[in-house]
């Protein structure tokens, strides 16, 4: 049973780890956010930073948000991988074996989660180099990875669901245009919601990115996480995963 999912997931993982370009994306994108965007407030007086962001280092503020956001961004690749399998006929090969369709979906989603998780240690290391002081304990790192796994599963599912029935190369790019920026800016990944207009606050309050950013901010910066947020992310992941599995069984075809 698990053998089939294992085989399909190992395929995804090997393709990720062997692709030079995948490494370039996984490393460069979040690191560039951290360095370029993170440095944009470095000249702001310390008191202002502390009153706005509750930390004197903006990079420290966006690190937890950026970890979650870049996990969302790379979710696109699970959709691309699925479309590639349709295009090259590999999906036919899989579906002619006694493999249930939802295993195909689960493997893509776990692949998406893996891409997200690869970024975490890289980003943590870069932040330390940039002078961010964090509460790094086995517990905080464990919670960070767990929450990012939930975020990765949730958003990779969302991506795969959106492109379940298409074989168009361009679809993932279009979907990412539509969901990445609104989700990122409506979350508290980059800015606290204190100055959001009320409609944006509403979106922010259901946005999983907010929960991931706040959870890990509390964990890494103040050592005071809200465990309910982790629960929220777990529910998000589970709902998306179940929804995706059901829809895949119904709507996924080999070509």
């Amino acid at each position: 049973m698990m053998d089939r999912l294992y085989a399909l997931y190992m395929r995804e993982a090997k393709r990720i780890f062997r692709s030079v370009y995948m490494w370039i994306v996984l490393i460069s994108q979040p690191v560039m956010w951290l360095i370029f965007f993170g440095s944009s407030f470095s000249g702001v007086p310390k008191q202002v930073l502390i009153s706005f962001f509750h930390t004197d280092n903006y990079i420290a503020f966006i690190l937890p948000g950026e970890l979650a956001t870049s996990t969302l961004f790379v979710g696109m690749f699970s959709s691309m991988s699925l479309i590639q399998d349709k295009r090259f006929g590999y999906l036919k090969r899989v579906l002619i074996t006694p493999t249930p369709k939802y295993d195909v979906f689960l493997a893509k989603v776990l692949g998406g989660m893996t891409r997200g998780l690869i970024q975490a240690p890289i980003l943590l290391a870069v932040s330390v180099v940039l002078g961010v002081r964090m509460n790094l304990t086995p517990l905080s790192i464990g919670v960070l990875f767990l929450s990012l796994a939930f975020v990765g599963i949730g958003f990779s599912s969302l991506y795969s669901i959106f492109t379940l029935t298409t074989a168009d190369w361009q679809a993932p790019g279009v979907i990412s245009n539509l969901i990445n920026l609104p989700l990122m800016f409506s979350s508290t990944a980059l800015f606290p919601k204190a100055f959001f207009p009320s409609w944006l606050k509403l979106i922010s309050d259901v946005n999983p990115l907010t929960y991931a950013a706040e959870l890990n901010r509390g964990m890494l910066l103040y050592n005071d996480p809200s465990w309910n947020y982790l629960l929220y992310l777990a529910v998000f992941a589970l709902v998306m995963l179940s929804l995706g599995s059901v829809l895949t069984n119904k709507f996924l075809y080999a070509e």
Binding site: F88, I96, T97
Partner: protein
């Protein structure tokens, strides 16, 4: 004992009938061919028999199980070889085999895979990326993958399309060999007459979604064969004689005779040498069988293929 038994198997895409109530049986251990032009319904038939797409009507037993009510059991007892060679090019030959083995639920797959790679003479390349394999090696790897789960039936969709003459001959031998050595029933589709003739124990000739004749290649030639003389008339020339066994399309006249050599002179005299632009003689072959059954060559029937795919596309929207 039948490996495949279809009953009124039908696939419709919208109003278009891609496969139209076909019924045939394939005995265990046979090499059975579906011969027909592109768009005749061969691939759609394979898709239904492998459980990739459900039939609109009818049913089939493959390896003893219904493709409608028990597709999972069918899928674990078959192998499949695509026309375009589908492998994961980024993974090694060995990794491709591993995935296939796990997906089909093969225990002890390593021994089986090693044995098969040895059988096909590609064991030494097992750690090379599949993308770096030659076309022949890729075909062999794909067949090895199809044999991993010791299937009762292997489906081969146009197994030699796009291959050069030498590789094609090698493929034919391979197909005969695995049919014998692994006692596997083979159902293949093809639009190459020579392939059907030399490879298949029995043939179904399929055109426009229907099986129009089914027998051994020899019997088909006996029944529907004979030589065909094809006369191309000069522009403006009219055929003034009434001949038996004749089909006329545009400026082309096809006459079926028992022996072309002896009939040729009489025929030229009857039609009138001045009216003739060219003459072609088809000696008894499956080509002739096909012409006699459908009233046209494969190429002429193939013209419908484009319309067929356009209709499928429209129906899917």
């Amino acid at each position: 004992m039948y490996s495949i038994e279809t009953r009124d198997l039908t696939k419709k895409y919208g109003d278009f009938v891609a496969v139209d109530h076909i019924s045939f049986t394939v005995k265990r251990g046979e090499i059975f061919g579906l011969l027909g032009p592109n768009g005749a319904g061969k691939t759609t038939t394979i898709k239904m028999l492998t459980g990739l797409t459900p039939p609109t009507e009818g049913d089939a037993l493959v390896a003893g199980f219904s493709i409608v009510s028990n597709p999972i059991e069918v899928k674990s007892r078959i192998g499949w070889i695509s026309s375009e060679v589908i492998l994961d090019d980024d993974l090694t030959g060995w990794e491709n085999l591993e995935i296939q083995a796990r997906l089909t639920g093969v225990k002890n797959w390593k021994e089986r895979a090693t044995e098969l790679l040895k059988y096909f003479g590609i064991l030494e390349f097992k750690d090379r990326k599949a993308g770096k394999f030659s076309t022949g090696m890729r075909k062999k790897l794909e067949i090895a993958m199809a044999l991993l789960n010791s299937p009762e039936v292997i489906f081969m969709d146009e197994p030699t399309i796009g291959l050069d003459v030498n590789t094609r001959a090698t493929m034919w031998n391979l197909i005969r060999q695995i049919n014998k050595d692994y006692e596997v029933t083979v159902l293949l589709t093809t639009h190459y007459m020579e392939e059907a003739d030399s490879l298949c124990n029995r043939l179904g000739i399929i055109n426009k979604g229907r099986i129009i004749a089914m027998d051994t290649p020899e019997e088909l030639k006996n029944k529907y064969g004979g030589d065909v003389i094809e006369i191309e008339l000069k522009p403006g020339a009219k055929l003034n004689v009434n001949l038996e066994n004749t089909q006329v399309t545009d400026s082309r006249v096809r006459i079926r005779v028992n022996n072309a050599e002896s009939a040729l002179m009489d025929l030229i005299r009857a039609v009138g040498g001045d009216n003739i632009k060219g003459i072609r003689v088809n000696k008894s072959s499956l080509d002739v069988v096909f012409i006699n059954l459908t009233g046209g060559t494969m190429e002429e029937q193939e013209f419908d293929a484009r319309r067929f795919y356009a209709m499928i596309r429209r129906a899917r929207r």
